[in-house]
């Protein structure tokens, strides 16, 4: 199970915390490229522009690959909108995109861990009572 799938299993309250992270980055991008995004080194890219440039370009290529997989009008329209939104938000600044993605991934991880700890805590309370 990848991290994005773990997010889908959180309680609504935690999911809303995750939703708040998606101010600049389109959540649909996170969804359609979940595994690919999680397998890249955004931390390094956050502080190394040449790495950020490569990842930025690879991300757009991955997004374009999706066009050939999805034939529905709505899906193609959504992919086009994601691409335009990315270009508008991060034009000329691959470092900002890398930083945003790195922050989102680490915040998601923190929220998942927090949810896990709370669940464990409540299970232990149930056992004690």
């Amino acid at each position: 199970m990848n991290q994005w799938e773990e997010v889908q299993k959180l309680d609504v309250g935690f999911q809303e915390q995750v939703a708040n992270l998606y101010k600049n980055l389109p959540m649909e991008l996170r969804h359609v490229l979940a595994t690919w995004i999680e397998s890249q080194d955004w931390e390094t890219a956050s502080t190394h522009e040449p790495v950020a440039v490569v990842l930025n370009s690879s991300l757009l290529t991955e997004l374009e690959k999706q066009y050939s997989h999805h034939h529905s009008l709505l899906h193609r329209h959504m992919l086009r909108r994601i691409k335009e939104q990315l270009q508008e938000t991060y034009k000329g600044s691959p470092l900002s995109m890398a930083r945003d993605i790195a922050t989102i991934l680490s915040e998601e991880k923190r929220i998942i861990a927090m949810a896990g700890e709370m669940e464990q805590g409540s299970q232990e309370m149930c056992k004690q009572s």
Copy 2:
């Protein structure tokens, strides 16, 4: 089959013509409220502000109803974005929204009819040859 389902069955070229209509109105709104949108009188609302005001408010109510039907994070996020986008694009101007929807519906109808005529034309050419 409603009109939006007919659009989904068009060839890609015609679908792209439809996609070009969605500059202001989010296509996702058209998709999630397809039947409801098609059953309202947007033509009248285009020129009668009191009707436009009622339809605008009903549309937001219909959209909110969708929240209770969809539990996925991505879907809730999308519905919230549609609502924000509508409020931003048409704030204080329900007439503009009614006009945009009326134009889109009539243009979709024109494109569907044109696609039908072309198909019929090519079938007749095949029979003659």
